[in-house]
């Protein structure tokens, strides 16, 4: 086992660390402007999975409120519709992480913007299945009204876990690797021919 000098990795990590605070600050401050886009994308996913359970989508600050068609009875003589709140920040913190990784790699802004767009479906996945998981957790009656029974319930549970535990952190890193193959090759010392033969130089 030979150990190559990790100085290029060190410089990349240092730049990424320095970019993290401003990227997280920018993400948090701009979150309410991005929320409608994510909400719309999540709504498409929900409709694809189970159509007819959403009547509208509202926003309160950074929080998305899914207005459903599902009837609930808060009291014996009262009828209302179920509202489900989702905090999109839980599924979008990968965006500032991705931007910091890309800036750490001195990537071009066009690539960063393209990557941010590619992240949207993954973030929407998390939001959509958070919404659906909340419906399932509300109770069997509500879940039945929404048509979330049998395999759909199992799928919602798994998709929610993947959307909350795997996608938010992994998607930015996977995209960073895919978008920076020359740098990636240089960082790993071109150890794998298929992944590193485009190796370039790292400043």
């Amino acid at each position: 086992m030979t150990l190559a000098a990790p100085s290029t990795i060190g410089r990349f990590v240092l730049r990424t660390f320095l970019w993290l605070p401003p990227c997280f600050a920018g993400w948090y401050l701009g979150a309410q402007h991005v929320a409608p886009v994510l909400g719309a994308a999540a709504r498409v996913l929900v409709e694809l999975f189970r159509s007819g359970i959403l009547s509208s989508l509202e926003r309160q600050g950074q929080v998305l409120i899914f207005v459903t068609t599902i009837q609930v009875h808060p009291a014996p003589d009262q009828v209302g519709v179920l509202l489900v709140e989702v905090n999109p920040l839980l599924y979008t913190y990968g965006l500032p992480f991705f931007v910091a990784l890309m800036l750490g790699a001195r990537a071009k802004w066009a690539k960063i913007l393209a990557g941010a767009a590619v992240l949207v479906p993954f973030q929407a996945w998390g939001i959509a299945f958070d919404f659906l998981a909340q419906i399932v957790r509300t109770g069997a009656g509500v879940s039945a009204q929404a048509g979330l029974l049998g395999w759909r319930t199992e799928f919602v549970a798994l998709a929610y876990q993947v959307g909350s535990l795997i996608f938010p952190a992994l998607a930015p890193v996977a995209l960073w690797v895919a978008f920076n193959r020359p740098l990636f090759g240089a960082l790993i010392g071109a150890r794998a021919p298929a992944m590193g033969h485009h190796a370039g130089t790292v400043r």
Binding site: M1, T2, L3, A4, P6, I9, V13, T16, L20, F24, L89, L90, Y93, G94, P96, F97, A100, L101, L158, Q161, V162, S164, L165, I166, P168, A169, L170, P172, V173, A174, A178, R181, L187, I188, G189, R191, A192, P193, A194, M195, H197
Partner: protein
């Protein structure tokens, strides 16, 4: 690259599905999470005797503030991602085994730092705790896993890659 990504996704999904099963939860996830709370408490009591751990919970006996270590906070998902990345990358099995052991140690060591830091951040300011817990530390743990993976690849001997193990140069993945 395409072969690596495909293998990585398949292995990760398999590991993640296994992790969610009741036997894996009772045999690995819950015991490890309990151990994580205990290790964190032991470390903290070196400089702060007012801390106790029970089950997955770490609590201050001074002000009653407590944190419970849940799924997503025990470092297991980051560890699974790292394991999948090392298994999917073409490397000799000996290097894979060493890399996985070192990687698990690195991820869990930083995760203990995360738990301890969150325990004190929460006693200082709940809003800062939420921020650090839900967003910042998630990214830092993943960055840790990425660094470990990159360093691990750099330790691999070039001779380990025979032409048969690599993708043909003409079939570049997008």
């Amino acid at each position: 690259m395409a072969r690596f990504f495909t293998l990585f996704v398949v292995i990760l999904l398999a590991l993640f599905a296994v992790e969610l099963t009741p036997p894996a939860q009772s045999a690995v996830v819950i015991p490890w999470t309990d151990a994580l709370a205990l290790i964190s408490a032991r470390l903290v009591t070196v400089f702060d005797p007012h801390v106790v751990a029970f089950g997955q919970t770490l609590q201050s006996t001074r002000n009653g503030f407590a944190i419970s270590i849940e799924a997503g906070c025990n470092g297991i998902e980051a560890a699974l991602i790292l394991i999948a990345a090392m298994l999917a990358f073409p490397a000799p099995w000996k290097h894979r085994a060493l890399g996985i052991l070192a990687g698990l140690a690195a991820v869990q060591a930083l995760n203990i730092v995360r738990v301890v830091s969150l325990f004190y951040i929460g006693q200082w300011n709940l809003e800062a705790f939420e921020w650090a817990h839900l967003y910042l530390w998630q990214a830092l743990i993943m960055l840790d896993a990425l660094i470990v993976w990159l360093l691990w690849i750099r330790t691999l001997p070039s001779a380990a890659y025979r032409p048969a193990e690599a993708e043909p140069r003409s079939s570049r993945a997008p």
